[in-house]
């Protein structure tokens, strides 16, 4: 496949299929609860409805209030171009793209926090403070995983790093499992999933991400929801690619990748149905566990060869 087709496949699949993931998660949760549940494409309906609505803005807010939703869409779209989905390489892959990948989400986080503080509400302030705090540990855990994979693959580009890791489970299963554990926790925390955060409650005092976007409505809220589904897709793809031993034949790899994403969504749904939300103080402990896991994975690989 040439590069243009690859870019189109990446962008097309991501933009079109990302809202399906939350739908799948909710369907699994409904099955566990014995309900029929909303259709898997409920988020598409929601987005279409929100885009038609008139937004309500707080008089306290400035333009910074819109920067959060905008960045939360732009960052994952740019990040997905650095990530190999079903192929061996990313459309925009280059040495050091792993760092740009992580920092794009940092940029979105900065603007989301500002948008939250822009409302002058105690709830949003609370969410922003928690987000800024937990990000310290989550980012460190993500980077320790990247360091481990970089050591393992001898590259600083996500394409070769993830491909080598996917194929290396037999030779370095232990350290890779530690990295996977670290990234799985980061994935759940960053996407505000149970057991760390609950995307469904409206108890502001217990939430992190959701509480930061309480004041958004109409098209900006649509951007927030769409951005969240994109983030779920992109970080999910990172975890799925770490596990998949792809061999380089595209008509096997792409379906395998998509199947992996569906399985991931199902796993998230099962976790959300069978676990309770952790106490807030436990979230940082879980993140420290993720960080330690990442550090040990890295050290094992550093000392191995």
């Amino acid at each position: 496949m040439n590069r243009a087709a690859l870019i189109l496949a990446h962008l097309g699949l991501t933009l079109a299929l990302a809202p399906l993931l939350p739908g799948l998660v909710n369907k699994v949760k409904a099955l566990f609860a014995g309900r029929v549940g909303p259709p898997v494409w409920q988020l598409y309906f929601d987005l279409a409805k929100l885009l038609r609505k008139t937004p309500v803005f707080s008089a306290t807010t400035t333009k910074a209030f819109l920067a959060g939703p905008v960045a939360s869409v732009a960052a994952p779209v740019a990040a997905v171009l650095l990530l190999p989905l079903g192929g061996a390489g990313a459309p925009l892959g280059f040495t050091g793209d792993a760092i740009a990948f992580a920092y794009l989400f940092g940029a979105a986080r900065f603007l989301t926090i500002l948008a939250a503080l822009d409302t002058g509400s105690a709830f949003e302030g609370m969410g922003a403070a928690r987000e800024a705090t937990f990000a310290v540990l989550a980012e460190a855990a993500l980077f320790m995983g990247l360091a481990a994979l970089s050591r393992f693959s001898g590259s600083a580009s996500l394409g070769p790093m993830l491909t080598a890791a996917g194929q290396g489970w037999r030779s370095a299963g232990g350290p890779l499992a530690l990295v996977l554990a670290a990234w799985a926790i980061v994935f759940l925390v960053e996407n505000c999933r149970i057991p760390f955060d609950d995307p469904n409650t409206h108890l502001e005092l217990t939430m992190i991400h959701e509480v930061m976007v309480l004041d958004h409505s109409g098209p900006p809220l649509a951007l927030v929801l769409y951005g969240a589904s994109l983030k779920l897709w992109v970080l999910g793809a990172l975890v799925v690619r770490l596990c998949l031993p792809l061999r380089g034949t595209w008509w096997i790899d792409w379906p395998a990748f998509l199947g992996g994403m569906v399985l991931l969504a199902a796993a998230v749904g099962v976790a959300e149905s069978t676990m309770a939300r952790l106490k807030l103080t436990r979230v940082s402990q879980a993140l420290i566990a993720a960080l330690v896991s990442g550090v040990f994975g890295f050290l094992l690989l550093l000392l191995q060869a």
Binding site: S58, A59, T60, P69, A98, L104, A129, D215, P219
Partner: protein, 648 residues
């Protein structure tokens, strides 16, 4: 001959920029700005010719002092730092016209302008000084002018104390440098600054010279634990002076460290490890303190410590690369360090100017009393926030490109294995990035967004254009370098080439052009999303507040509560002074909660230590009774002791 002439022009214009004002010229501020703008043009011309044209220049004139020569050399490293020095100096002078030249500061303005000009001249001289005595001369001028500038408002006791600590720290640094350069001169056979013979690093004299010079330079750069002078001085100085201190003066310490790396051909590995370890600890520590500050300028000062620590991490990588024989590490560490140095030299003055505008408009630096300033000062808010965003190392601004090169260096070191320092650099960079994000979202969000937390922001106003324009110019440069970091590649390549012979090209190691592609992918999406978000202007209402009838601004998150979880985690380091309210009875009275975080090392270590030393030495005062016979007795006793010692 053209380049030395241009350089001398820049030097003289900068040094003398304050003279017309002190001689009584009516528009002294404007004349100073024009002279510094001229200096900027000359300086940028010289730097451009060296960095992009590949030219070099030398000037060597005799000087009466023993060992000293007026030796100047335009090398790529000095030129790389000369460029931001002259540019930012001109911007700050323009800013000072609006900030300090009003009737409120009529008495201090001409003096301050004179010191500012001389300090900038000293900086220009430092970038090219090729003789140790000349270097120390310029260094001392810089330190003294810095002291005079910091204590501009010396009617305030806090300012006097900050100035005093700055002076003591600077002179300790000069002493260390003097000792270090003397050892170098013994090893290299002269006071000319340049490459040292192979094998010198392994001798005790070489090790001591390295450690002394490193400590002297680190003291000026403000790398922890030698940072004690920095937060107080930055908070006490007028804002444009804080900007010059943080953006430019600190960089001279880093310039010295970079030069030091280049002089030793065969450094042992533990030197790189030392630099890396110190950088990692100092950076994380500085951010912990930054998160606990309520004073906006003190917070920016701690952030400066963090940023010089990032540069130190890069220098540590380069030094280790030299010891390990990994040229890729030398290139990436050196280039990343220089790139980040430049980013910080442009961004931090921008932030200090923004903080100055806030201080100018509201009269306070206390973040807890601010809030909602974006409504009254939209341009300042935008410029400050953009600068803060950049300084967190986020794409697409310039600091990201520099940190990205450093990360690449760390990844290279990790891949090569054998040296855990690379892993430490990587972990420290990731930790600092996230902590800096917390510190700067806190500063921007609490100061500019939300509702006003006191009456002060209500009377705020946008600063005059002469204060806004320099900020806009610096931000424009940062955006340009962020969108197209490749522009800097040839200059970085030439500067890094001074570190070691036979280095691979930067382009082959760090595809800087691809960063522009990522930006090019993100910006159209952001633009489209912005169009969607703003298509419907919407309705205005109040912030959703759970249906409370009478919300007040006091229920907002404050600077302290925003960072509370993080400062709690660093409690062992910060040791805050807290006054907790005591709630008693069924109808408790109004309670107050107060928390304050002094610099642990300075206020709990050095100051009590110095006081104890003063007290202990005062016990010896009885020796100085003031009677002549007793002093004669001392002389006789000393002579007798010496006689006994020689005979025995």
């Amino acid at each position: 001959m053209l380049l030395p002439a241009l350089y001398i022009c820049a030097l003289l214009l900068a040094s003398l920029s304050g003279v017309p004002g002190i001689l009584g010229a009516r528009s002294g501020g404007r004349i100073a700005s024009w002279m510094l703008a001229g200096a900027a043009l000359c300086g940028l011309g010289v730097a451009g010719a060296v960095l992009y044209g590949g030219l070099t220049w030398r000037l060597d004139l005799p000087w009466g002092l023993p060992g000293a020569r007026l030796a100047l050399a335009g090398d790529p490293v000095g030129s790389f730092i000369l460029a931001p020095v002259v540019l930012v100096a001109a911007c700050l002078s323009l800013y000072a016209e609006g900030y300090w030249d009003g009737p409120a500061h009529a008495a201090t303005a001409p003096r301050l302008r004179l010191c500012f000009g001389l300090a900038m001249g000293a900086l220009v001289l430092l970038t090219a000084a090729a003789n140790a005595i000349l270097f120390l001369f310029a260094w001392e001028t810089m330190a003294l002018m810095g002291f005079l500038m910091v204590s501009a408002q010396d009617q305030d006791a806090a300012v006097r104390e900050a100035g005093w600590i700055y002076l003591v720290a600077s002179h300790t640094g000069v002493l260390l440098l003097f000792a270090g350069f003397s050892l170098l001169a013994a090893g290299a056979g002269g006071y000319a600054l340049g490459p040292l013979p192979a094998g010198f690093a392994a001798t005790p004299a070489g090790t001591w010279a390295f450690l002394l010079l490193l400590a002297g330079f680190a003291l000026k750069a403000g790398i922890g634990p030698l940072h004690v002078w920095l937060p107080g001085a930055h908070a006490a100085a007028p804002s444009h002076v804080s900007a010059a201190l943080s953006g430019l003066l600190l960089k001279m310490g880093l310039l010295g460290m970079f030069r030091l790396l280049a002089w030793f051909p065969d450094p042992p590995l533990w030197w790189g490890g030392l630099l890396t370890g110190v950088g990692a600890v100092s950076g994380v520590m500085a951010l912990a303190f930054a998160l606990a500050q309520k004073d906006l300028k003190r917070m920016l000062a701690y952030s400066s410590i963090e940023n010089v620590s990032i540069v130190a991490l890069g220098l540590g990588l380069a030094l280790a690369g030299k010891s390990l024989g990994l040229p890729a590490l030398v290139v990436l560490g050196g280039a990343g360090a220089l790139f980040h140095l430049l980013s910080h030299a442009l961004l931090k003055p921008l932030l200090f100017m923004g903080a100055g505008a806030v201080l100018h408009a509201t009269g306070t630096r206390d973040m807890e009393r601010l809030g909602g300033l974006a409504h009254a000062m939209p341009r300042t808010a935008l410029l400050f926030t953009a600068g803060a965003f950049g300084l967190c190392g986020l794409p697409p601004l310039n600091a990201f490109a520099g940190e990205w090169i450093l990360y690449l260096g760390a990844f290279k070191g990790v891949q090569a294995g054998g040296w855990t320092g690379a892993g430490i650099v990587l972990a420290a960079l990731a930790l600092m990035g996230a902590l800096a994000l917390a510190a700067f979202t806190r500063a921007c969000g609490i100061v500019f967004l939300g509702s006003p937390r006191s009456d002060l922001p209500l009377q705020a106003h946008e600063p005059p254009p002469s204060m806004v324009r320099p900020m806009a110019l610096l931000l424009g440069l940062c955006i340009l370098l962020g969108l197209a970091p490749l522009l800097l590649a040839p200059a970085l390549q030439r500067a890094v080439a001074t570190l070691a012979p036979g280095l691979p090209p930067l382009r082959s190691l760090a595809p800087l052009g691809h960063l522009s592609l990522v930006t090019a992918a993100a910006l159209p999406v952001a633009w489209a999303a912005w169009a969607i978000a703003t298509r419907n202007p919407g309705r205005r209402a109040v912030t959703w507040d759970c249906g409370y009838a009478r919300p007040t601004a006091r229920i907002q998150y404050t600077a302290s509560s925003f960072s509370q979880m993080l400062t709690e985690a660093f409690r062992w380091l910060l040791v805050p002074i807290e006054r907790l309210p005591r709630v008693q009875g069924l109808f408790p009275r109004n309670a107050r909660f107060q928390v304050q975080t002094p610099d642990t090392l300075l206020d709990r270590g050095l100051k009590p230590g110095a006081q104890f030393l003063g007290w202990a030495l005062s016990r010896l005062r009885f020796l100085q009774a003031g009677h002549l016979p007793i002093y004669l007795l001392y002389v006789v006793l000393t002579l007798a002791a010496l006689l006994a010692w020689t005979l025995a």
